[in-house]
Amino acid sequence: MSVTGSTRALRDGARLNPWLAAWLAALVATLLVYQLRDAWPWAVRYPRAWNVPLSVWISDFMKWLINDFDLGLFTFKELTRSLSWLLDWPLVTAKGLLSSGFSFSSDPSASIVVERVSWVALIGVVAVMGYKAGNWRLALLVGGCFGYLAVFGQWDSAMVTLSSIVIAVPLGVALGLFVGIAGFRWRRFEAAITPILDLMQTVPVFAYLVPILFLFGFGPVAAMIATIIYATPPMVRVTMLALRQVPDEVVEFGRMAGCTSRQLLWKVQIPSAQPGLMVGVNQVIMLSLNMVIIASMIGAGGLGFDVLSSLRRLSIGQGLEAGIAITLLAIALDRLSQAFANRPPPEHRRQELSWAARHPYLLSALGILVVAWAIGLVWPAMHIYPETLEITTGAFWEELVEYINVNFFDELEAVKTWLLLHVLIPVKRFLLQLPWVAVIALLALAGFQLGGWRLALLVACLAGFIAVTGQWAKSMVTVYLCGLSVMFAALIGVPVGIWAARNERAHRVVQVVIDTLQTLPSFVYLIPVVMLFRVGDFSAMIAIVAYAVAPAVRYTDHGIRQVPPHLIEAARAMGCTRRQILWRVQIPLALPEIMLGINQTIMMALAMLVITALVGTRDLGQEVYIALTKADTGRGIVAGVSVAFIAIIADRLIAAWATRRKRELGLA
């Protein structure tokens, strides 16, 4: 606290602003508690003796659940194992079709009876799908994405990944749709699931991998279940929102036409909510592909495994090529699903047309499959892409990193050292010395100001949980790492977003860049970053900023574009310059939206924690990671829930602020 700051505060306080007075009192109290740290050490550092052994209880409960919980006819574990046996079937089928072929025998040495779909055929089929859903440009894009997989030697792994994605995504979408519909129908159900959704989205995946492995066994099914848990919540939220946004007139019309409530839902509400629902589908696809790396750690194999194993060998180029394959799969699937959703409704044709004439695309896809299969019998290159034609750019990337490393390390090191000594380390020390009692009190005060006593109670309880379970110091390191990263992400993302909103060409370029940043596995750039900046908080921060900057850009761009045009017209009529319009009209009006973007940035930053634990941070992410490798269920869940609570505190405070501000601006 600087002197000028407090005198200004005093001056304003003289104007009798009760909130300012309250904040001032709270800050003075904080300082007082800190000064009294020798008399009341418990108020600064949470005493170890007060820890509640929640993690032990959870581990014991888990053991009981797995070993002893009996539902009468069968045990709980038998139930979950049957479920995984059931889910294994579609997975095995998809894998046989795309990757391994079918041998109709459990013996892997048995000869394959039905071959998998060949690379030529699959590229042809997705191109036809692209043409059917969109136009030849989409066909070219989708075909090109899959072509990359073949040419760069990623085909085998990509098909393993694809076969689990094509099962996980529909399951996630269907599950999300049904839960969402239930939430839409019954308000009470919605109230019950909202906190669960919050936890599903913010608890790091590593925290629940161990119990999933115990319950569902090792293998691709467990990985798929983890993927579904992670990827489904946005679908539920979007479903509820989209169904609520269906205009009343449409629903009324459906009722007048005599729809039953089931018909009303499936024939009226869901079709008219479709554009909204597709946003959810897009999110499920993106998040499922985000999980590819983590899923490969527990046995999903495929591209994720390739990324991890090449980076362990420090084959940066190979890791990058496998990572780009994941990104291209995401792009192809996303554009295809978007195009299918946006297709104009089918025209009613005369029935005398033959079946073949009515289904030209299906027929040509089948044709491609048959022809490719037949040619494959005599010419194997049709079937398996010849290794001699594969290309790789691997060596180039390794040489590039080496060149930068050898020639520019000193400059990079200087920047890093300055930031470490003058920003990172002081902030970390400051946060670690804040009395926990005071932090909880300040959070509660902020909650009270922004959203009343209920919000105050909520944030105080969540912060209290973190202290009581003995996670305080690690949480403060988490807050420091994420807080600074979010700050840098905002400093970069908001100006870029503003630029993209005002310049159409920039908008297009920026879109591609942030799409790539979000789907390229962060591990791919984490290793070169470590080579240039060494193990430690700074490398972790770069990785977090790179991943979390996307929503800051997106929401700023969107927020500024959404400013009502008549307001800008009015400003222009009053003779404002472009700069004045930006600073006086667009930014203030877009601020609530920008803040929501920052909110998302915080969520993303917290989501990255577990990944950055892989380069040696000492925060809650590391705690979760240790728990995973030690297979300690309780420890992982307690640390994971603490991460989630930090996220929820930030989310609720920012959302409360944004709602209030929107109301003040007359936008809500």
């Binding site: 069968f74 038998e78 194992r81 049957s82 046996w85 109709f104 025998s105 459990s106 013996d107 892997p108 040495s109 048995a110 000869s111 009876v113 991998l209 161990v210 492995l213 115990f214 066994g217 090792f218 293998g219 750690m297 527990i298 046995g299 999903a300 194999g301 495994f305 991890l308 194993s309 980076l311 362990r312 060998r313 420090l314 080496e402 490393n405 050898v406 390390f409 090191e413 050292t417 470490l420 000594l421 984490l526 290793i527 470590v530 080579m531 060494r534 193990v535 430690g536 950055t612 634990a613 892989l614 380069v615 040696g616 941070t617 990671y625 240790i626 995973l628 490798t629 030690k630 297979a631």
Partner: protein
Amino acid sequence: MREDRRISKLAALAASGALVLGLALPASAGVESKDQLILTIHDWTGQYITTHIMGEVLQKAGYNVKYQQADYIAQFAGLESGDLHVAMEMWETTGKQAMEESLKTGKTLDLGETGLFAIEEWWYPAYMKEKCPGLPDWKALNDCAEAFSAPETAPKGRYLGGPVTWAGFDDERAEALGLEYEVVHAGTDAALFAELQSAYQRKAPFLGWVYAPHWAPIKFEGEWVEFPKYTEACYNDPKWGSNPDMAYDCGKPRGWIKKVGWKDGADKWPCAYEAVRNFKLDNDTMGNLIAEVDLEGRKVDEVVLQWIKENEGTWKSWIACSQ
């Protein structure tokens, strides 16, 4: 195990269906069970190679082998429940505690040593010897702390330790031996070797945790620091060694790499388990195989098949019981 039975019943049904259709099944010399025998694979090349050599040998004997990725420590849950059957590499240096805990449950079996020998210790590249001529003796470390420092640790040296989960007691060691070094933990060995490679390219100072068998000590020229030799007393008894008040005033243990298996599997596939027990390789062979994969970029399967072809006598003796 209800599902298992169900699966095998279905498999049998499918198999009999195939027979009816007149499709020939590969001849398998009377193995005890055609159920999938699951070997776990982790994420380092050496383990991938040992597991694939074992798997290949078992397949040649007619077993139905499946490879399953699983975490190094978390896999014990699967080995105890029978979801997983054999793990080929459990290192004394990193996995001893977890393995002993698991053996205590009585659901897993110690399947003996692999013949490989784990070495892990503080390591420096050869060019650092010019800046610190007293090495490899650990007593020279304090004189060279400045040479091994980074801006944020100076004047203390910087030692890059292994992942916290691979308990190495480096913080304790630095304190017990009075080393003027700050111990920084890499989250994964990938990050650790990334930093080593970066330093090596620039001939910059590096002191860190390196283990063998691994490609790094093959690719980079360097040496391990020589600490007072490890004894059990050193880790357990503070009075031992140069520091009378603290344990860990010595180097790290070097030790066996063992195989572990699901206990009931020994009754189900006695001969296969016998073969796993017989599996033996040495560090030189292993180092060469790892180098061929990681440094020369050959495919694991290719390297494994070549070994199988060239060492028929060796592996045939492992699986003698099936003939």
